[in-house]
């Protein structure tokens, strides 16, 4: 490598961060407000009717880590997917394709940028919802591990979706027909033990379930399945999707003709 030049991936990461920071009302404050509204409505309606973890945890407290993780996941996806498709459609992706950035450089910058946005929004949701129920943090490292892996997975999925989609409509379909159902049916609002056996079994095929359940374990020390299993599933999914994305970037699929 020419010693006069360093690697450009840090600048791409900086650009990704600056991009969402410049519109932080839309990218940070709005999702925090949405999560707060979910908490207010669901806790008001269900607090007295739903028992979770055999009554050892209040429903509102149970809901908070779920909403935090849902916000992390949705915003990580939104960041990388919107950045990529906007750049493709407006044509300014050429400024990223002309420099000597490797597939790994691009992957690292887009996914880390998505993770930062997801985690910032998640921290914001946690900060504004903490006041509604006493919340312990029994295993912070477990919570952190799931937050990092979950945001990385959704950041990676967002990158794949942004590369694959040729128009905003296709990206919206990816988001509304895949990401949204998987998130809402992952146990954000309920424990899967409250579901009939068939739906309980089906939930185990939803990778988002392991992210939410594992993250919640970090708060309560309680989970629907063993956190080690969840971590293994989430880590394997992260590795597989990362590998797929690197292949896509290496081949230049829909980016380099």
């Amino acid at each position: 490598m020419n010693p006069a030049f360093g690697s450009g991936w840090l600048t791409l990461l900086y650009k990704e961060l600056l991009r969402f920071w410049k519109v932080s009302f839309q990218t940070i404050l709005a999702p925090v407000l949405t999560a707060l509204l979910y908490l207010l409505i669901f806790s008001h309606v269900l607090e007295a009717h739903v028992s979770v973890f055999e009554g050892r945890v209040r429903y509102t407290a149970f809901l908070i880590p779920g909403l935090v993780m849902m916000s992390v996941l949705q915003n990580a996806f939104a960041n990388s997917s919107s950045s990529m498709i906007q750049s493709k459609i407006t044509g300014n992706l050429i400024f990223v394709l002309l420099p000597p950035l490797s597939p790994l450089d691009m992957y690292a910058a887009y996914v880390l940028g998505a993770m930062v946005r997801g985690l910032v929004v998640g921290a914001g949701v946690l900060a504004v919802t903490l006041w509604f129920a006493p919340l312990s943090l029994e295993h912070p490292l477990w919570a952190l591990a799931f937050a990092l892996l979950g945001s990385a997975i959704l950041g990676t999925l967002g990158l794949i979706a942004g590369i694959w989609a040729d128009k905003f409509d296709q990206l919206a379909a990816f988001q509304n027909f895949l990401i949204m159902p998987l998130t809402f049916l992952s146990g954000v609002f309920y424990s899967i033990h409250t579901l009939p056996p068939f739906w309980q079994a089906l939930s185990h095929f939803n990778p988002f379930f392991y992210m939410i359940d594992g993250f919640r374990y970090g708060f309560f020390g309680l989970s629907d399945i063993a956190p080690g299993v969840s971590l293994a599933v989430v880590a394997a999914a992260c590795l597989a999707l990362s590998g797929l994305t690197l292949v896509i970037l290496q081949r230049g699929y829909k980016l380099r003709h």
Partner: protein
């Protein structure tokens, strides 16, 4: 000496269209090289392959000896491309756009050079304006700045003056000329053939994915077009009738290959004692050469 750009047997097909059909091209360091051709000739595809935006089906392309696929990092560092499309990132200011582009190339502390670029491109007063607030011509200048921000020795300008007003065009070309005189290799595609004629030392003409002419500008002008002569005389000897382009009253407009042929014509007229009362010459321009070459190429 290592060529600035070396393209060997490069081919590229898009569906049923053969965009490039085995193009060979070598551009020397320090050249101001013109790449001309009608729409769809393959110019942008060739540039895209050089820049790593498009992959060739066959052949190789190198920038200062570095293969654009196998050694893409070094090849891209040595190349600056001004794209044809007027694209920009609406999130950033002019200065941020240039700083970010420098950073993509791993350049740190490029502030002084960015200041100089802003000055040369007459953008200093708009450095902190959002890209959306700029006129088309200003956005075009930022594109030029982005291509130059890592000080590449080889610069490709793909239709850089499309939609740019005359004043700006002149200042842009003065800046590009300076870069060329400082040793930068310039490759230019343009539809303004008078620009290519004024700036380029050598010119390649593409048609349907093939190079149909490649020579110095001077050779192209003399070999393909020669002179157009208008003379007023009573008559014209039989031998020269085939050279008449048009005739009005006693004026003849003839097409000649070069000045030697003009001398022969005048000698013939003297030998036939035909008096020439008026004579004017017009050298062929690149546009005429271009049209003739395109017309005869299959």
């Amino acid at each position: 000496m290592t060529p600035a750009v070396e393209i060997l047997r490069v081919a590229r097909r898009f569906g049923n269209v053969q965009a490039l059909a085995g193009v060979d091209l070598v551009v020397g360091p320090g050249e101001f090289f013109g790449l001309l051709g009608p729409n769809g000739a393959g110019k942008t595809t060739l540039i895209s392959i050089l820049a790593g935006l498009t992959r060739a089906d066959a052949g190789t392309a190198r920038v200062l000896g570095h293969d654009v696929v196998d050694d893409y990092r070094n090849a891209r560092r040595l190349l600056g491309v001004v794209p044809q499309e007027l694209v920009f990132d609406p999130f950033f200011t002019v200065r941020e756009t240039l700083e970010i582009q420098a950073g993509y190339f791993g350049l740190r502390n490029a502030d002084d050079w960015i200041d100089e670029l802003l000055h040369h491109l007459d953008l200093t007063s708009r450095a902190h304006s959002n890209m959306r607030a700029l006129s088309g011509g200003m956005k075009r200048r930022v594109l030029v700045g982005q291509a130059l921000v890592h000080k590449p020795p080889v610069i490709v300008l793909d239709e850089p003056t499309a939609g740019v007003d005359v004043e700006l065009r002149q200042s842009l070309w003065a800046f590009i000329r300076k870069l060329n005189s400082d040793g930068h290799t310039i490759i230019l595609t343009t539809h303004y053939l008078e620009e290519a004629e004024a700036l380029c030392g050598r010119i390649a003409m593409l048609k349907a994915g093939r190079i149909v002419a490649l020579d110095t500008k001077q050779n192209l002008l003399s070999s393909f077009a020669g002179l157009t002569v208008r003379l007023t005389a009573d008559s014209l000897p039989e031998d020269w009738q085939s050279r008449i382009l048009r005739r009005d009253d006693q004026s003849y407009v003839l097409s000649l290959s070069n000045y030697a042929e003009l001398e022969r014509l005048l000698a013939t007229l003297r030998a036939h004692e035909i008096a020439v009362t008026e004579l004017s010459l017009q050298e062929a321009d690149l546009e005429q050469v271009f049209l003739r070459i395109m017309a005869r190429a299959h």
